[in-house]
């Protein structure tokens, strides 16, 4: 915690570019490639490594890839509307379907090895994370984009005209960097609050904080309580596979009503008091073979512990995926993926996915489609915006806009300091329990929010100001802010819709048929977006 822990910084590198992309997962890589395609100079910074960072790379994902016929698109759009609580937008959905179709075909052209069936027909509805992201890195480089790995952004730079770059640190050396850019794309993913759900520990809501500090709005932050099923000892979250599972109490009796989809609440409820076991005993031999070829990562933990998940019962847990598989995020004002702040764009899980998912995702395929589509649009628009600024861009006098002090000292020690660990754990203690975050009611949300507000106040008063572990400090700050937007929005939505379940308002209420915007830092505000005019679902 003291100044002596950290080394003095080793100077600063300052460069200019047209577009800065923050985050090197699916949406960031598509953004970078598409910004470069407009002729813009592009730098992509990643907190970790572009190619392995984030939720997609270590996993596999379905993709919302649909033949572009009116009938098939109509069916695809309709199939999700009720689940998402009718908060989607048909125009966005159609655009995402079309863009995803062409982007996935582009991946095919780039040489991604899509499987062929017995009739030689190619199947393009899923991607293996390691292969997909390795290919994306290669294409980003080919597009002439400069990739800076292990280079977390700590704050945005802005002037009276809007956002004009970002400043950060090279994690390996502690050297600071400053990139002045005509436009910035935030593609840093969602927030899973360090739950160790597969690949998500780099996803700490950093981009939300950056955007809010610049004055951008967020939307749908109440849709932030996704939990995934994983073996209790493991990081490998793969809820879809548990479609073929039966769930058991410790004594081997079946937990009635437990399931991977609608029965997840039963699992959550049971886990509050006792362990839950699963066995994938509904998968026949053929399905078992397909599963192994569909998601090799799923079997790694079992193989290593010599558990046969099809015949052995194993303990399971629910890992919080927060907004990574929730649908809330930075609010976009148009289909260029612009935020309300000039020069600032958002894409992928960092942005709200309500336009195509409403209040529920239920699977990675929509998120994958959203990432590649929104990333492409944000990149193209940011590229054009920056090029239009022309020589004016370099004359701007932009400065850092972090709300909290960022220590000039530096340490990447994992001795994070007692206070920092305590703050991180205090925030996790508010968002992780299903008692608060999954089964929501006014009273518990209010008292949790009060505690979170106190944590925020402490951070603002400078409790972490001298901590040289600046990256972890920003993560803790971002998680605190994210949790406050989540619960403020969750309190405001006095109904049950999408993944947002209120014990005190159990029905979907047509009077809440709108998206909820939030934002602000010291003072968190919440307000309804415009009412939606598309047909509200029949109340169930």
């Amino acid at each position: 915690m003291s100044n002596q822990v950290g080394k003095q910084p080793k100077g600063e590198r300052e460069v200019e570019t047209d577009v800065l992309v923050i985050g090197g997962g699916p949406s960031g890589t598509w953004a970078a490639i598409n910004a470069a395609s407009k002729g813009a100079r592009v730098i992509l910074v990643d907190k970790g490594y572009c190619g392995t960072s984030g939720a997609t790379a270590p996993s596999g994902t379905g993709v919302w890839y649909v033949n572009p016929t009116p009938e098939e698109q109509e069916k695809a759009m309709k199939s999700r509307e009720a689940l998402g609580g009718y908060l989607q937008d048909r125009k966005w959905m159609k655009n995402v379907l079309n863009r995803t179709y062409s982007n996935v075909n582009q991946l095919d052209t780039w040489g991604y090895p899509f499987p062929l069936d017995e009739d030689g027909h190619k199947h393009l509805k899923s991607l293996q994370g390691p292969d997909y992201m390795r290919l994306m890195r290669k294409q980003v480089k080919k597009a002439g984009v400069k990739i800076w790995d292990h280079s977390p952004a700590l704050e945005l730079l802005a002037d009276e005209h809007g956002v004009g770059g970002a400043a950060g640190v090279f994690s390996e050396t502690g050297e600071r960097w400053k990139v002045k850019a005509g436009a910035v794309v935030i593609a840093s993913g969602g927030c899973a609050f360090l739950s160790r759900a597969l690949g998500t520990n780099v996803l700490t809501g950093d981009g939300y904080l950056l955007a809010a500090e610049a004055g951008a709005n967020l939307s749908g932050m109440e849709f932030s309580n996704a939990y995934a099923i994983a073996p209790a000892f493991s990081s490998v979250t793969k809820t879809a596979f548990y479609t073929w599972a039966t769930f058991y109490y410790q004594d081997g009796s079946i937990i009635e009503g437990a399931g991977s989809q609608r029965g997840r609440s039963v699992i959550a409820k049971t886990l509050q008091t006792q362990p839950v076991y699963a066995r994938l005993d509904k998968a026949d031999e053929q399905m078992q073979k397909w599963m192994r070829k569909a998601q090799p990562n799923f079997f790694v933990p079992f193989d290593r512990l010599t558990i046969n998940p099809f015949t052995d019962r194993f303990p399971v847990t629910l890992r919080l995926e927060g907004t990574v598989r929730g649908t809330g995020g930075i609010h976009l004002i148009n289909e260029n993926c612009e935020t309300k702040v000039p020069g600032l764009y958002a894409a992928g899980d960092a942005a709200t996915r309500e336009f195509i998912c409403g209040g529920f995702t239920g699977g990675g395929s929509h998120n994958a489609a959203w990432a590649m589509s929104s990333g492409s649009w944000a990149g193209e628009a940011a590229g054009e915006y920056a090029l239009n600024l022309g020589s004016n861009a370099s004359k701007r006098n932009v400065a850092g806009i972090s709300t909290t002090p960022i220590s000039a000292n530096w340490s990447k020690s994992n001795k994070k300091g007692f206070v920092l660990s305590e703050i991180t754990e205090s925030v996790r203690a508010e968002v992780t329990p299903t008692e608060i975050n999954l089964f929501r009611n006014e009273k518990t949300l209010q008292s949790s929010l009060q505690r979170l507000d106190l944590i925020w106040e402490e951070i603002r008063l400078g409790i972490l100001a001298n901590n040289p572990n600046v990256v972890r400090v920003r993560e803790a700050t971002a998680m605190t802010a994210t949790a406050r937007w989540m619960y403020s929005s969750a309190i405001e939505r006095r109904e049950t819709r999408g993944m947002h379940k209120r014990l005190d308002y159990k029905e979907q209420d047509p009077r809440f048929h709108y998206r909820i915007l939030t934002g602000g830092l010291d003072h968190v505000w919440v307000k309804p977006d415009q009412p939606l005019h598309q047909e509200e679902g029949v109340r169930r």
Partner: protein, 113 residues
């Protein structure tokens, strides 16, 4: 959680240091990398997948456990995930035999999907 960088197998290429998304490893020039920030390991297995000489072992447990390197070598576990993905020497990616589409076809026939 990352448990082993095999000193006998490691060629000190530094790839694991680069690809680890959470910056778990440190490396002195030319030396075998060390697990410097184990707590930050998120058990994503990416270092194993990228390691060209199968020198890494990520335990499937998210918490620290004791492991025995010799036993792991004998069991053939080192490098097994990389081979599963078809990323090993002389292999081609197993993405080409991804059977997700068959699962999706079955799932769409289940009630409620």
């Amino acid at each position: 959680m990352i448990e082993i960088i095999s000193k006998s197998k490691c060629i000190s290429c530094g790839l694991c240091v680069s690809v680890c998304p959470t910056g778990v490893f440190d490396q002195e020039k030319g030396k075998v990398p060390v697990i410097a920030r184990k707590d930050d390991c998120q058990t994503c297995f990416m270092c194993e997948v990228y390691c060209p000489v199968d020198a890494m072992y990520v335990s499937p447990n998210v918490e620290e456990v004791a492991v025995n390197e010799e036993e792991l070598v004998v069991s053939g576990i080192l490098g097994s995930y990389r081979r599963e993905l078809g990323w090993g020497k002389g292999q081609s990616s197993s993405a080409a035999s991804d059977a997700s589409y068959k699962m999706f076809q079955m799932m769409s026939k289940l009630p409620g999907h």
